[in-house]
């Protein structure tokens, strides 16, 4: 019966069903593979091939040079931190946008996407102008002994800026689907506000929050345009990994550049795999298997 087929849970890997509900599986898979190969796999393969021109010892020397290692720490550390900050405040923002109505809400909703649309160089120059010691914000921070522009802190500010929409936009639809009755039920059963948030809302939102975190992180690791203006770019202090790649290119060292790119790719891919695994695990645990 038709309804029965529809009601069956998603196909288990152990017993693939002969009959698929949706036609066109081969066509779409073929298209997916071709598309991914052209756009993602072939360019990435070129990076690995170019890197392969180096011997293993040379490769190791390039990717573990002290300046490069310092840049990994800055790039990955700041990206994780920025994604974490965005996860907290992005959730807050999404909550405010979904649950409350206030004048100018549509405008604020649209503003969230602005970091997507703005050319990153413009963002970088604008943030630098704001946070430099003669800037609008910088002039008030300077007397407090807080320097943002041209310091590692500036890198963080830029990365938080560009990562914001990712968390808001992934969490927002989940919050919109969330029935207020769940919280009301929790409250009527005697839960404190914190308990209702911790045990009812958070588990439902968490997988989406992780996705947003992963996206914001991935974007931040690869970011160049906005960071380069505000970072100060001092060796061992405020050089991001993408700058190390550009530096290699400026010295016409193409293989060195791709070697660092390879390390970045592997590190990012591993971290993203871990985050995705974590997300699948929490989704399963909270019974929202998608």
């Amino acid at each position: 019966m038709n309804t029965a087929t529809l009601a069956t849970p998603l196909p288990r890997p152990s017993a693939p069903p002969r009959l698929r509900v949706l036609p066109g599986f081969r066509l779409t898979l073929g298209y997916t593979l071709a598309y991914l190969s052209l756009l993602v796999l072939i360019p990435l393969a070129a990076v690995f091939l170019k890197t392969a021109e180096l011997s293993l010892a040379e490769f190791w020397n390039v990717v573990t040079a002290p300046r490069v290692v310092a840049s990994y720490k800055l790039s990955f550390g700041m990206s994780l931190l920025a994604a974490g900050i965005n996860a907290v405040f992005g959730l807050l923002l999404a909550w405010a946008l979904v649950r409350y109505s206030f004048p100018g809400k549509k405008l604020i909703d649209a503003l969230v996407d602005l970091p997507f649309a703005l050319p990153t160089a413009v963002a970088g120059i604008a943030l630098t102008a704001l946070y430099a010691k003669n800037g609008w914000i910088g002039q008030f921070l300077e007397p407090l002994g807080i320097q943002v522009a041209f310091k590692p802190l500036g890198v963080l500010v830029a990365l938080v800026f560009i990562g914001l929409p990712f968390v808001v936009r992934t969490v927002q639809p989940i919050l919109e689907d969330l029935d207020t009755e769940l919280e009301e039920a929790a409250t009527s059963l005697g839960a404190q506000r914190w308990q209702a948030f911790r045990h009812v809302i958070l588990p439902i939102v968490f997988p989406a929050l992780l996705t947003g975190f992963a996206l914001a992180f991935a974007r931040a690791v690869g970011e160049y345009g906005s960071v380069i203006f505000i970072a100060g770019n001092l060796p061992m202090v405020s050089e991001i990994t993408p700058l190390m790649i550009i530096t290699k290119l400026e010295q016409y060292d193409y293989t060195g550049a791709t070697a660092i790119a390879t390390v970045m790719l592997i590190l990012s891919f591993t971290l993203l795999l871990i985050i995705n695994g974590l997300q699948a695990w929490t989704a399963k645990r909270t019974g929202r298997d998608r």
Partner: protein
């Protein structure tokens, strides 16, 4: 029927004439250059086009591309079809020659004066009134002085800045390699921001108000005064600096293919002509033949001792010693 065929014939004729005309008219030349020459070539290109038209009857359109010198050289290496390159340092043109073979290895002997039709040097730009009393290189390494210069690993101009400081330290009484190394180390420790290019460093100094002194191309320093007003900044000329020779070359591989060899050569030759020399001086580059320039422009160039890159050991040696991975510059920041 007759009318149509006549129309067609006319159309065909018009097309043929148009094509022939455009073949003659559409001779283009691409000059790939670096950032600070933008104004110079904007003025030079129409002058050359007029000269070429008068000489040969051909109309030539010159296209310009500007950007960081290293990035521009890389674009040519990666296949940008430049007929001529006019870059910040010989090392960049060497890289094109080495990586592509489109420029002969002895390119620097193809034009007079090491293929540098104009030269420049490195001077200091300080805030009005020179509040920190900066007079010479020695003042830059003092405690509490903030020096703005771009990263020599990514900027051609910054390599000139750095080598000028190196040359100064070497030429001091009792100067030695070790002493010079200490000097540039102390200098770089006074740099709070390392921009990736010369224009970025100028912005940091001028717009962001960071730093006490900007190390700049002489022509860029004059340009800053012209554009931002002499009431905010002033130029300080050190006792000694480096003779920066921004070189030019025909990309023979490309020019041969496009049939623009003669044109490309004439274009670069014209830089050495009285017209080219006068324009170079007008745009604050020191002309090779100052007698052709406006004496008022020449009078603006201060006299100072200039050290050439050959006296220091040449670009390839300097690049290897200072800016290659693990070189002197890297060791400054190694902990």
């Amino acid at each position: 029927m007759k009318r149509i065929s006549l129309g067609r014939a006319l159309l065909g004729l018009a097309l043929a004439v148009g094509l022939a005309a455009s073949a003659a008219a559409e001779t283009t030349l691409l000059n790939v250059s670096y950032d600070p020459t933008r104004e110079l070539y904007q003025a030079f290109n129409p002058e050359f086009a007029r000269h070429w038209k008068a000489q040969t009857g051909e109309t030539v359109t010159i296209r310009q591309s500007h950007g960081g010198a290293g990035k521009q050289a890389r674009a040519v290496i990666d296949g940008l079809e430049a007929d001529v390159v006019t870059l910040a340092l010989a090392y960049d043109i060497d890289a094109i020659a080495e990586k592509t073979g489109r420029i002969p290895a002895d390119w620097q002997q193809r034009f007079a004066h090491n293929s540098a039709p104009y030269t420049s040097t490195i001077v200091f730009l300080v805030r009005k009134g020179n509040p920190k009393g900066i007079r010479d290189w020695g003042d830059l390494v003092k405690a509490g002085i903030e020096v703005i210069t771009p990263n020599p690993k990514t900027s051609g101009g910054a390599r000139w800045n750095y080598l000028a400081a190196w040359a100064y330290a070497l030429r001091q009484p009792g100067g030695s390699e070790q002493g010079a190394q200490d000097f540039v180390t102390r200098l770089m420790k006074n740099v709070p921001v390392l921009d990736s290019g010369a224009r970025g460093a100028t912005n940091t100094f001028v717009q962001r108000g960071i730093g006490d002194v900007l190390l700049a191309w002489e022509n860029e320093a004059f340009l800053s005064l012209d554009e931002l007003g002499a009431d905010q900044f002033e130029i300080v000329v050190p006792s000694l600096s480096i003779l920066a020779e921004p070189p030019v070359a025909v990309v023979e591989g490309v020019a041969k293919k496009r049939g623009t060899e003669k044109l490309a050569r004439a274009y670069l030759d014209y830089l050495y002509s009285p017209v080219g020399q006068r324009l170079a001086a007008r745009h604050h580059y020191r002309p090779i033949h100052p007698e052709h320039a406006d004496p008022a422009d020449i009078a603006r160039f201060p006299k100072l001792e200039l050290v050439t890159i050959e006296q220091l050991g040449g670009w390839q040696a300097m690049q290897h010693k200072h800016f290659a991975d693990g070189g002197v510059f890297d060791r400054i920041y190694a902990r």
